[in-house]
């Protein structure tokens, strides 16, 4: 059995509070994230799910302060341990990236340089972070460390293969090398942004096991960003569901999948094809994700929601606590004025 989250009182490793991110374009400013709040505790795997355009990638970029030039965190805060991430000066920020928070992507070639051998890249990555106290190691030691980490992530013959270049490895192996590179600096938090989405199921299962082992053996916390609810169900302890730049629901993985509260979460889960559903039509969500330039004033899901009333059109829902979970939906907010008819919510999954 996996470790599971530690008991409640542990202070969070990462705390995101009321984060708002705006993209400035020539004509106007678009709010890409609004009032996003969640915690990640040490050793916890938190899933962030949602469809394209929901703000998942903006969130991961904001956490690393890697937003594009026209992106700006306009309010809220991100605390990583004692650091106030949004206020870090360039030098401290460089130290935080990689050392405190590592990142892995869908395409390993975004982090691996094709013109250098794996050895050079893994050694340089360590040298760049003297603050991690790696400066006192000799080059030989740094290579040893690199070989060790490559072995841990399952690269066969790492001592030989470390002199190869990225293109000499298969896709799955490159994914592992990228993970190895992130692990070298022993970050307390790893952000995996669609890190297994391009892989075959068998490789994906291997990488997921690797991530779970990291958490178990090193206590690495992971933010697992994915559109794949199946994978999220298998690896995450807690899940944040995003829609139109908002966190719309958060809860532990078991209750969120068993009893989704937000109509959007319910609809997402009902749309997944599985063998059990053979023969039935899959549920689909009518309409599409609203464009950031044209968001409805109240609930952003209102035009696609089977339970919408007039109040949902006008009133932006608050993030309210329900049964130890949080949901951004007027239906669950006693102060919203939403009128409950006899059976308000159709779906238990």
């Amino acid at each position: 059995m996996s470790g599971g989250p530690p008991p409640e009182p542990t202070p969070p490793l990462l705390r995101v509070e009321g984060l708002e991110v705006v993209y400035h374009t020539r004509e106007r400013s678009l709010v890409a994230l609004s009032d996003v709040s969640f915690d990640v505790r040490p050793g916890e795997i938190v899933g962030v799910v949602g469809e394209s355009g929901c703000g998942k990638s903006t969130l991961s970029a904001a956490l690393m302060r890697l937003l594009p030039a026209n992106g700006e965190a306009t309010s809220g805060s991100i605390h990583m341990r004692e650091h106030d991430v949004l206020k870090l000066r360039p030098e401290a920020l460089r130290d935080m990236r990689g050392r405190d928070i590592g990142m892995i992507f869908q395409d390993p070639l975004t982090s691996l340089n094709p013109t250098f051998s794996v050895r050079t890249q893994l050694v340089d990555a360590q040298k760049a972070h003297r603050s991690r106290d790696l400066g006192r190691y000799s080059d030989r030691d740094l290579v040893h460390r690199a070989v060790d980490v490559l072995e841990q992530v399952g690269i066969p013959d790492p001592a030989q293969r470390i002199d190869d270049y990225p293109h000499q490895f298969s896709g799955g192996m490159r994914q592992r090398i990228m993970i190895a590179m992130a692990l070298l600096l022993e970050p307390a938090l790893l952000i995996a942004d669609e890190a297994t989405s391009a892989l075959d199921v068998t490789l994906e299962a291997q990488i997921l096991e690797l991530l779970k082992r990291l958490r178990r053996e090193r206590g690495t916390a992971i933010i697992f960003i994915s559109h794949d609810l199946g994978v999220v169900a298998q690896v995450c302890d807690r899940v944040v569901v995003m829609y139109a730049g908002r966190a719309v629901e958060e809860g532990d993985v078991l209750s969120l999948f068993e009893r989704p509260l937000h109509p959007y979460t319910q609809a997402l889960l009902a749309a997944i094809p599985t063998r059990k559903q053979g023969g039935e039509r899959l549920a689909t969500i009518p309409g599409r994700v609203p464009s950031l330039s044209d968001l409805p004033p109240g609930c952003k899901f209102v035009d696609r929601c089977p339970y919408a009333q007039d109040v949902n059109r006008e009133r932006e829902p608050r993030y309210v606590a329900v049964d130890g979970r949080r949901v951004r939906c007027n239906i669950y907010d006693p102060d919203s004025g939403y009128v409950h008819s006899s059976v308000p919510m159709a779906a238990d999954a």
Binding site: M1, S2, E51, S52, S170, G172, M173, D200, V201, T202, L203, E204, A205, Q206, L208, E209, H227, D228, L229, G230, V231, A233, Q234, V253, L254, F257, E258, A267, L268, L269, A271, I272, P273, T274, R275, Q277, G278, R281, L282, A283, T284, I285, R288
Partner: protein, 330 residues
């Protein structure tokens, strides 16, 4: 499988540049059936689909369509065949020319195949068939969402009123809801027009949802093929079992009891496939026999075939594990 098959492949081989992408495949799809073809990247499943519709030439073996040997058709005969079998390509944005409007793309198959006007289906009707608004006729592909583009490629394939469709990863890259509606559409169309499908995908959830038959491909050969229920509930090839165990189901209650058969390593290069059973380099059941003798497909249940020397052991283990799981969960 009592109906005569609409599509039958006999010992089909497709080799190119030294790659044995398809290397001896036999299968039959009855009219109206949906066959799901699964396997990892590099298994040869896309090449198999392309060989069937004659987009790549086979090296040897035979493709039969509706009882006719179509392996070597040319010219007008090939064009007539193409009206009856169509392929929906994996990435609609690369298979739909960006300079052409939807209306042109939808009528292009008629021009290519020199179809007389009276046999054309109108653009609006085609769009309605795939549940798209007629207003999209004047759009360019880049103005469409992923789900809309996918529907346009389905409509384009339907323009010639084919009987058989090959869909390569029909939902790849789509969001959950868009993927669900494409799958719904494909099922509706199958019923409405009596279509037969070959669906190529690496996603076993989709196959489990939609397919009547499942074929599992590994390095150019079939490892297992049979009715979906049989293959999912009683898989007999270690590779099929490993694939099924690797599927991430959207149910967190299943954690912890799975992943026992986590498949080690990666699929070897089809340029140089292992001798004997191609799966032996990753197989925990492999014995010296596996390294020497290529296992042939063997019928182990009605219509359920497996190519493994040790399928009895595989099934016995599967039964034991299922029983332990039940005990553990209690």
């Amino acid at each position: 499988m009592s109906n005569p098959p609409l599509v039958a492949l006999h010992d089909l081989h497709t080799h190119f540049d030294g790659v044995r992408a398809v290397d001896g495949v036999d299968l039959r799809i009855a009219k109206g059936q949906i066959l799901g073809l699964v396997g990892e990247s590099g298994s040869g499943k896309t090449t198999l689909g392309r060989t069937v519709v004659r987009l790549v030439p086979s090296t040897s073996g035979r493709v039969e369509f509706d009882g006719q040997d179509v392996t070597h058709l040319r010219g007008a005969q090939l064009r007539r065949l193409r009206r009856r079998m169509q392929m929906i390509f994996q990435d609609p944005h690369s298979s739909l020319s960006p300079r052409l409007r939807v209306s042109y793309l939808l009528t292009e198959p008629y021009r290519i195949n020199k179809i007389p006007r009276e046999d054309h289906i109108g653009v609006h009707e085609l769009l309605e068939t795939v549940e798209l608004s007629p207003e999209l006729a004047n759009k360019y592909p880049h103005e469409l969402s992923g789900g809309q583009a996918r529907r346009v490629s389905i409509a384009r394939a339907l323009a010639l009123q084919p009987e058989f469709l090959i869909a390569d990863e029909p939902t790849a890259g789509l969001d959950v809801s868009a993927a669900a509606s494409v799958l719904n559409l494909m099922r509706d169309l199958a019923r409405r027009f009596g279509l037969t499908y070959l669906i190529i995908t690496h996603n076993l959830n989709i196959v489990g949802y939609i397919a009547d038959l499942v074929a599992v491909m590994y390095l150019g050969r079939l490892a297992e093929i049979g009715p979906a229920d049989g293959v999912f509930d009683r898989p007999a090839h270690p590779y099929t079992r490993a694939l099924l165990e690797a599927v991430s189901e959207p149910d967190p209650r299943n954690r912890g009891v799975d992943r026992r058969l986590l498949l080690p390593g990666e699929i070897p290069s089809p340029r140089n496939p292992p001798p004997g059973c191609r799966f032996h380099t990753r197989c925990r059941y492999a014995q010296p026999l596996s390294r020497e003798v290529v296992p042939e497909l063997e019928e182990i249940d009605p219509g359920h075939f497996v190519a493994c020397h040790f399928w009895r052991e595989v099934r016995a283990d599967a039964r034991e594990i299922r029983e332990t799981d039940v005990a553990v969960r209690r």
